[in-house]
């Protein structure tokens, strides 16, 4: 596939295939209420089955969780509203075209490949989630080994490989069909999440807030008696829930969606979706683990087993569908990013198959999906800072006397200032995460600020 074609497809996959390389015309703009519907099913995905129980497993108190998620989600919505929407409405460009104007087309390719690799790990977690449900009817469940690259049982690994390959082939051959299926499934999935939570409350014999708190605390005691003491406090929950989608808001990925907005009120669009997916669904999923601990004493956050215990076959179908409909576009987008690595003569699906294989390999290691709380923070730390560069370019370039959209105006295909402003803070952030054990979500905002300041400094130096 030709490189230009790949770029167009990457853009198309993120922008709905329209006005990829031009501002959205006035006639195609939508009112802010359209964005409420557009985002409604966006944040209720397979990952929610995994993330919710991890809060309990990490030792978060229910009061902290209820209030922390509330504040974190409000902060995330405010970030969309006041950071992303004004730039999107003003420029009306996709993230990729905006970035190409600032960074140059070759650096955008580097960004795409990094994005693609991260997408693969996310898809890998989705494959693990789906496989956990596929294994239930066959009596195959998975255990999470302590070693990050440790395997579960051979039977579970075989299921992961089969599920991963099927997903990769479907993503390569029938992306649109699965995308339509995902739209049909979204309202049903949200209701099933709620039903799972209610069923878990029934299993715990909860009849008041006090009994719920007592059951939750007992659950934490059991987890900590096995795993040792852990703490996931209020502010950690706030920061995590604020920044788990940092790539979309701080990283400006949602410029591609909000550029269709008539005005900045479109930034309120994710509010319903966030509270359904990152509040209701997480809390309901965490109740399922609390119920499982009460019923069996088992502390493993196995989405398939949890959903089976809560709502039976509906739960199994929901986990498979949730994992599949999330993994499918993720593998597809990662594949398009990888396609630029293949020669022009290569088959158009080569990138998607490669992405599917990487995701499948990642899915074989269940500990990776068990580290999802860390991974989404890492994802934001790596991709978020590029949004800082866009922010500076939009608001400060003219005021501070350096060139706005530098690569576009100077005919550059690789703006080294952007690379340094992006890579240096991210490298430092990764050092603190991996060497000093800093919780990854904590690194997102410092890296974003550092990238913004560094870009200003480098552009001023370049000018002088």
């Amino acid at each position: 596939m030709a490189e230009n074609h790949v770029e167009e497809l990457v853009l198309e996959s993120n922008s709905g295939g329209e006005f990829e390389r031009a501002p959205v015309p006035k006639s195609r703009l939508k009112g802010w209420k359209s964005f409420l519907g557009m985002y409604a099913g966006e944040h209720a995905a397979g990952t929610e089955f995994m993330i919710g129980p991890l809060f309990l497993a990490a030792g978060a108190s229910l009061k902290d969780l209820a209030l922390g998620l509330l504040i974190g989600n409000i902060l995330a919505i405010l970030t969309w509203r006041y950071l992303v929407a004004p730039i999107a409405v003003s420029s009306k460009l996709t993230l990729y075209f905006q970035l190409e104007k600032i960074a140059g087309k070759h650096l955008v390719k580097v960004y795409n490949v990094v994005n693609g690799v991260l997408f693969c790990f996310l898809a890998g977690a989705m494959i693990t989630v789906s496989a956990s449900a596929v294994g239930i009817p066959f009596g195959i469940s998975f255990s999470v080994p302590e070693n990050i690259f440790g395997l579960s049982s051979p039977a579970f690994s075989v299921i992961v490989i089969i599920v991963g390959l099927v997903m990769a082939i479907v993503a390569a051959a029938g992306y649109n069909t699965v995308s339509k299926f995902a739209n049909i499934a979204a309202p049903w999935m949200i209701i099933v999440f709620a039903a799972c939570g209610l069923s878990a409350l029934t299993q715990m014999e909860v009849n008041s807030w006090e009994t719920l708190l007592a059951e939750w605390d007992k659950g934490i005691d059991v987890v900590q008696s096995i795993n040792g003491k852990a703490d996931f406090g209020f502010w950690k929950i706030v920061i995590f829930s604020w920044l788990c989608n940092a790539a979309m808001h701080f990283g400006m990925a949602d410029l591609s969606i909000m550029r269709f907005a008539k005005d900045s009120r479109a930034g309120w669009g994710p509010s319903i979706g966030m509270f359904l997916g990152h509040y209701m669904a997480w809390i309901c999923a965490s109740f399922m683990l609390a119920a499982q601990i009460k019923l069996t004493g088992d502390i493993s956050a196995n989405p398939g087993a949890l959903a089976w215990s809560a709502v039976g076959w509906t739960g199994i179908i929901c986990v498979i569908v949730a994992g599949w409909t999330t993994a499918n576009p993720t593998i597809y987008r990662a594949g398009l990013a990888f396609q630029s690595l293949f020669p022009a003569k290569a088959k158009s699906y080569s990138g998607v198959i490669l992405a599917g294989l990487i995701a499948t390999i990642a899915g074989i290691f269940p500990a990776l999906s068990g580290k999802l709380l860390d991974f989404v923070g890492l994802y934001g730390t790596i991709l978020g800072p590029m949004g800082g560069v866009i922010f500076v370019n939009h608001y400060f370039a003219k005021k501070m006397g350096f060139t706005q959209d530098y690569a576009d105006k100077n005919g550059s295909s690789f703006n080294v200032s952007v690379l340094l402003a992006w890579a240096a803070p991210v490298a430092l952030g990764l050092y603190f995460i991996f060497s000093k054990g800093v919780f990854p979500a904590y690194a997102v905002i410092p890296c974003w600020i550092a990238s913004s300041l560094l870009y200003i400094l480098l552009m001023k130096l370049l000018k002088s």
């Binding site: 339509k180 709620a194 709502v311 039976g312 179908i317």
Partner: protein, 55 residues
């Protein structure tokens, strides 16, 4: 179209959500709820594509 939408709403609103609320309140047994939910799920995926495709 209206009838199809009503069936979809019934399938998730009544057979899944209301059934689980009634189970929580102790009115329906857990196993019956699981069966109702499965029926609701099958109904949703049979009926919804017809009207959602049109929209």
């Amino acid at each position: 179209m209206k009838i199809l939408k009503s069936i979809s709403a019934f399938s998730i609103g009544v057979l899944i959500l209301l059934a689980s609320i009634l189970s929580f309140l102790g009115t329906i047994e857990a196993n019956s709820v699981k069966t109702l939910m499965l029926v609701g799920t099958i109904l949703w995926f049979i009926v919804t594509p017809f009207w959602m495709k049109e929209e």
